[in-house]
Every structure is written in C-alpha cells, then in structure tokens.
Subunit: 405 residues, 2 copies
Amino acid sequence: MINVAILGFGVVGSGTAEVIEKNKDVIKEKTGAELCIKHILDLRDFPGSPFEKLITHDFNDIINDGEVDIVVEAMGGAHPAYDFSKAALEAGKHVVTSNKLVVAQFGTELLETAEKNGVRYLFEASVGGGIPIIKPMMSDLAQNRIDSVSGILNGTTNYILTQMSENGAEFSDALKEAQAKGYAEADPTSDIEGHDAARKIVILAALAYGKLISPDAIYCEGITKIDSKDVALAEKLGGHSIKLIGHAEKAGDKILAFVAPRLIPAANPLHDVSDVFNGILVSCDMLGDAMFYGRGAGKLPTASAVVSDVIDIAVKSEMKAASAKWEDASDSDIAPLADYVCAHYFRISGCEKCMAKVFESVERSVTENGETAFITKPISEAEAVAKEKAFAENGTKVLARIRVL
Amino acid sequence: MINVAILGFGVVGSGTAEVIEKNKDVIKEKTGAELCIKHILDLRDFPGSPFEKLITHDFNDIINDGEVDIVVEAMGGAHPAYDFSKAALEAGKHVVTSNKLVVAQFGTELLETAEKNGVRYLFEASVGGGIPIIKPMMSDLAQNRIDSVSGILNGTTNYILTQMSENGAEFSDALKEAQAKGYAEADPTSDIEGHDAARKIVILAALAYGKLISPDAIYCEGITKIDSKDVALAEKLGGHSIKLIGHAEKAGDKILAFVAPRLIPAANPLHDVSDVFNGILVSCDMLGDAMFYGRGAGKLPTASAVVSDVIDIAVKSEMKAASAKWEDASDSDIAPLADYVCAHYFRISGCEKCMAKVFESVERSVTENGETAFITKPISEAEAVAKEKAFAENGTKVLARIRVL
C-alpha cells in the first residue's frame, strides 16, 4: 500500500484523486500497485465531496505523517508549491508534480534534493498533459542521441491557430471563442505570448541535453501577430499549416532553444496536430523521428500523467520491475466480428437507385462511370454482410466493401 | 557492467550491436548503464567485422556463460528462436526479442518461464519497430482502462497504400516498387495479407486486456483487393485515406480484434501516417486518445527498441530508478538564435519585383492584392534579419516573417 497526499484540490488535484479512485482495480491488476489517498491540502473545504474527510488546511499534517510516501504537488504557481515540494523531498517523501513553472525554474535544485534524500522528483504531467513524453525521453529513448525536439506544446494557441486555419477567423475572434469554450484563460498572456510553451521546451531540452535553461533566457515569440492572411497564404504556398512550436536542438556544444510560430510542411507529422491536441516530435540518431500525440491539457488527461508517475514510484519502491501480465485467451474470450459496428464504404455496379434499393439513406455517395461509391451510417458487420447479400439478390455487384475507422 | 549476448547477426542483431557500440557514452550518461556485448551467435562468420571475434556458432557458449546477463533474440522465425529463448530464461538470463512471431505464439509461456526464474522477457521491438509502445502501454498508460487500440502496424503495406494514394498507382505496381526499394520482401504474403499486422495487434490486445489471442483466431484481411479506384473515391467521399489497421477493443467481457483495410476520416490522427511509418492510436478512459508515431521497421529503429529493453533491464537489475539528470545551463551553454538556419516565409508590400531586389531566388511565391508572400531557401536568422533591413531600405514593408519548420 502506497499512501499519497495531494497538495491543491483544483483541476489537476481533484482529477488525480478521481483517477486513483476510479481505476484502483485496473492499476492493481496491471502493476500490482495499491494506492491510497491519505490527505488533501487545500485552503477550501469541500462539503459533500467524497474526499471531504481527507481535506486538511495544514501542510504539517502531511509532512509530519510518516505514512505518506508520495506528495503530489498540484497547486500551481511558484510559491508555496516550490517550498512545499522541497520540504517534502527533505522529509524523505517522493514528489510528483504537474507544475511546469516550478520544474522549469527550480527543477535542478529539486532533482538534487531528491537524490540527496533517496527519493524521486517526477513531472510527467508538466509537459504534454496526459501524453507520455517525459518518461519515454528518460528511458525509452535513452539509447539515442537527440538531434532535435519540436513540439506543439500549448493547447490554447493550437486551438486558436486551428480556428484561424479552418474558419479563416482572425486572431482576436479565435481567442474570444477559445475563452468562451474554456480553452483560454481570462488573462491569456502566458499562452498566447508563448511563455507556457517556453517553460515546456526548456524541460524537454534539459532531458535531451542535460542542461536546464531558464525560460527567460530563450527567444519567445507568441501568436498575437499572426494574420489570418498568413494562415491562408501558408496553405497556398505548398500546403503549410502554422503552429506555435517550441524547438530545441544541439548547436555544436551549445543548446539552441526557442518558441515561435512556424510554417509546418504537409509531410511533417506535426502538420495535422489540431485543436487542443499537443504533438511532440523527437528526432533521434538511431530511431529517427518519433512523435507523441494526445491531449495536452484537461483535468483527467493531466491527472492520468500524474498518476503514471505515482505508479512508477510505487512499483519501483517495491523493487518490482514492470512485466507484461497476460494469459492465453480461450475461445470464449474472443468476440465475433459480426457484432462489430462501424460505418462502411461500398462501391457497387450501377447508379444511386441500385444503392437506394438496399440502403434507405447513406452518409455520402458519388456516382462515376456507372459505379456508385458511398459511406453508410454505422452498421454491424452482420448487417453489412446481409446488405451485400441483398445487393446480390438485386443483381447489383458489390465491387468493394471497406470498413471505416 | 551488463553482459549481452546476441542471437542472430542479421539486420536487427547487427543493428543492436551498432547501437550499443555507437551510443555507449550517451547510454551511460543518461541511465548509468554500462553495456558490453560478449557473444554473438550466428551460423556464418563475419571476417572483417568489428564484432568478428565475438561470433560463436554454439549456443552452449552463451547458455553456459554465467557472466551473460541478457540474451537478445534477433533470429526471427519460430524455431530455434523460441527454444533458445526458453532455455535462456530457464538458465536465469533475461531475454529481449524483436520476434513478434514468437511473442504472439509463445508469449504467455515465455512470460511465465521468465517469472518463475526471476528474470524478464521484453519485446518492445516486436511491435511498431523503434516506436516506444510496449513499455508505455505496460507502465505509462497503466492507470487507464484501454477502450481500443488501432494501429498502422505494417510499414510495407502502408508504403504501398501511400503510393496508391499519392500517385494513383495500382496495387501490383506499388508492390513492385516497394520490392525494388527493399520495403517489401520477395515473398510479400505475410505483409500484404495482414499476417504480420495480426501478430502485432494480438500482442497489443494482450497488453491492453490481459489475454493473448492466437493470431490465427482473428479475422485478417489484407490489402491485395484494394483498387486504386477505391483509394480515389475514399478521398472524394469526405477526404478519407485507406490504411491497413489492426484493431482491438473490449466487447463486453470479450475481446474483439481484427486486421482489415479501413477508411480513415481526415480528423483521425492516423489519417496522415504515410510511407513506411507506423502509428498506434490508444484510446484510454482517462487520458483520451494518444498516438505513438515513428519508424515501424528498419535496422537501427528496431535495434533502438531492442536496446531500450536491454537498458531497462540493466537499470532495474541494479535497482536504480530512472531519474532525470541535468544541471542548470550557464550562458555559454546557450546558442544564439542568430545562427539558426531554416527556410522563412515572408509577406511584403509590393510585387515580385520588390522581392527580387532582396532575394535572388525563392522556393515559391504568390502575389495577391498588392502583397507578395514567399518561402525562401534555408537562411540563418541573422541573414533573415539582414534581409528585413534590406527590404526597409528599399521602402518595402515586411508585413510578416515566420520561420518554416
């Protein structure tokens, strides 16, 4: 049993509690780790919350509790988040954080403090929200020299740029819409001026190159000056999209890092990372390019990353190595394809009339050279097979059937 | 020091030796692991190879060497790969493999054998080539219930489908081209009929749902019947691409898994995974969708994944937990942006003549409403700033400058 204390019961803190409680069983099954939330620190009370009884207003309740193994810092801001993290590490407790500001500013010191005290300081959730990127860079890619890291690291600006691209919106209108949808804060400066992305790229650069650069020391250009004209022209000039990119690379024995809007060529996997999604492209000497993609923000995705760190500590502090756990499937474990439901693409001989004899309505269709191709509403595999039969009975040839993902 | 023996000095085996030797320093720096290749088993000799002296023709040299900690099985085929793996595990040696055939067929037994003998059986390279996917599914995503896994798992078929899409090639011609380029084997059956993808999706399904289904027990449809007509029509019907997808999901208490070509909607991140690249989309209850993208095959990418398993064993067998290691950067560690070279997008007032006064030649340009937008050849930031100045001196306004990724 590993006891966890959560500092801050806001979005990430409450999400962390939710992930641990809801998926207790799957976590135990997959990793053997048994997690228990013991305290939650917040200035507020949460009457009616299932976690109400765990709330404390006094950090000492946590730091002095010898049973607390891991402190999750989800307070945000530099202070007291940094101070509490340092105190927890010095008290021999592992610390997990989602706080990129603290990692980017005090990461070196806190990692040293952790090492001195034989505990760990982990921060998977500080970059890329729920996307596994910190631990993959620390371990899965450790046999590679990193040539460069380029990332769409901020969901707010990516949402705004996607709106500008898809709807021709101007920056100011797209920002207002993002604020209305809750994707941008009332004061959006940190996102739109690139400061948030700057904190994240210096963390990735530190993992890649072993030196933590202050976010204030790198060139940082936001997206406020992007004109919808440029978005349209970039598309015209060979199909580029425009994204806010945090970039880091080795330049001789120095590190080059900066944040700026960039034109992304169509062939680059970052080209289509849209809306609030994040994508991080890591170019490695052996592996080549690898991209990690997913939800870069949000309550449960970010909490998912926090809990992945908690599990990592839990598993390793019991000195167990992760192992795949499975058994051979029996026939009764295997679902028949007949029940699988998805839209289907058909190509048939004949016109739309032939199609209409078998499908009352479809999503879209096109007739060319005496053949009709169409996409159905979602139907089961069994229905799709029955429809094929119906076509055959009407003398219509089914020339192709392909399932839609 | 961790001693490694490699079984099979073909593409993956020799790549593994190369990654370990070339990146010894970076591996040690990032993880503390010191790797040493002690034996290489192959039927052939390799006169002139830097690894010549390590070659043995007798598996007993490896199994009886108490100093060998990890056996890398890179032989391919079911036998003797399975037999040697089992013997190595029983002799108390960790086994790392790239052999999806053995994992899909004998994985349950070999994992049990490993557990019984207190060692590990790892197979990151068996799915997705160099892409970190197995270990992320085992650990980074362990706090999630997996709703589904959909993957472009075979580079050969993805290359063929990309050719059919981009050049309107017919399947047979695209296959010939893939063979000419070395992306498809002389006998391409296993790839184009989907058997290779079937082995990989059952491995991913086992990690997600705890049951290993025999690849022979799932529906498997290849791409041989895909007509270039369908590729074109799928694009017309709302911008779908066609990809060979291995799919697995939970269907009640059963597992549904199959391989088939699928239409991919434009908004799906798998839509643009092209050429020999692989992409694996994992839908999770907490994190949402995450995609892992990269080179799904090839000597060094696959070897990179093999070595990531070797490092994982090395680090954990010394009971060290992975920790970020960095120090604060000093000013002299930071490269100036002025030296950074990339293509630039400019939008200027005036016609192409104004552009030509400052740029002798550009990659592409377009003039609209008295403004010219263009993309330059790669130039340094310093040159770009000088060009801005030159425009100003000519009375031309620079309305936008955006760097190209």
